[in-house]
Point group: C2
Chain length 148, copies 2
C-alpha cells in the first residue's frame, strides 16, 4: 500500500468516525470515489426500528437510490462489515472495502454472527479488496464510550 | 414435524410461490403468524435497482415499518436465504424459517455466496428453526422458467 492510499484511508475513516459519532452509535460509513466523498451514512437501527439499517446497508441503499455506478468506489466503515452488509456490498458491485474495528473486537460490545468479511468474499463470486484496522484504536474508543 | 405443520408449510409456500410469479422472479416471501399471513413480498432488485432488495430483506423492512413484533412469526421463502437475508432475519428476531430451493440449486441460475442459512444460524447468537425443501420441485420449476 502506498502512502497516498494510507493518507486517504485515514482521512476517509475520520469522516466515517464523525458520522458514527453524530448518529450516536459506533457505526459510520463513507463511500468515496478517489478523494471525493459520494455519500455518508450512520447506523440507524435504533432510530428507524429497521434491524437491517446498518451503516453499510444504508450506504448501499442510498447509492442505488441515487442511481450511482459502483466502478472505482471504495466503502469505508468503522466496524468490519457483518455477513449481511458484506453480502450486500458484493451484490452492489463495490470492489474495495476499508474497515477500522475487526468483528472480534465488536463482539465485546454487540452480539455478532461469527463470519468475517474475508470469509464472505472468499465464498462469494467476485473479488473484493479488503483492508482492516485503519484508525482501529480511535474507532474502538467510540465503541467503548457508547457501549450498550 | 406433525401433519398440521406440514400442511401449513405447503400452503404458505404456495403463497410465496404466487408472490414470486407475480413479481416475475423466482423469489417470493411470506411472513405468517400461525395460519394468518402478516405480509408478502417479492424480490424487487430489478425494478427498484436496489441490490439488497431480496424478497426476505423486503419482508424484514416491511415488518419493521409496520412496527410488528416478531414473536411467533414464521418466514417462508422460495429460495434458501442468502447470508445477507439470513443475517437480517436473525437481527429481526424471527425464530422460524422455511424455504423451498437450497442454495446449491439456486447457484445453477444465479451467482451465490456459498454460505448456507444453517451456517449463518450456527455462527450466530440466536437459535432459529430451519426447514428446507418444502415444495422444492414446484419452486425449482419457476427458477427454470425464469432463468436469467
Amino acid at each position: 500500500m502506498n502512502s497516498s492510499t494510507e493518507i486517504r484511508d485515514k482521512r476517509m475513516m475520520q469522516r466515517a468516525l464523525a458520522i458514527a459519532r453524530e448518529g450516536m452509535t459506533p457505526f459510520g460509513c463513507v463511500i468515496a470515489n478517489g478523494d471525493k466523498v459520494v455519500l455518508e451514512t450512520p447506523n440507524t437501527v435504533r432510530v428507524s426500528g429497521d434491524p437491517s439499517a446498518h451503516a453499510e446497508m444504508n450506504a448501499i441503499r442510498q447509492l442505488s437510490a441515487l442511481g450511482k455506478k459502483t466502478d472505482g468506489l471504495v466503502l469505508y466503515t468503522t466496524g468490519e462489515p457483518c455477513p449481511m452488509c458484506m453480502s450486500a456490498i458484493m451484490y452492489a458491485g463495490i470492489g474495495e472495502v476499508v474497515f477500522a474495528v475487526p468483528w472480534q473486537d465488536i463482539r465485546r460490545f454487540y452480539p455478532q454472527i461469527e463470519i468475517s468479511a474475508r470469509e464472505v468474499i472468499n465464498k462469494g463470486f467476485k473479488e473484493i479488496s479488503l483492508r482492516g484496522e485503519v484508525l482501529k484504536e480511535e474507532c474502538l474508543a467510540l465503541f467503548k464510550n457508547l457501549k450498550p
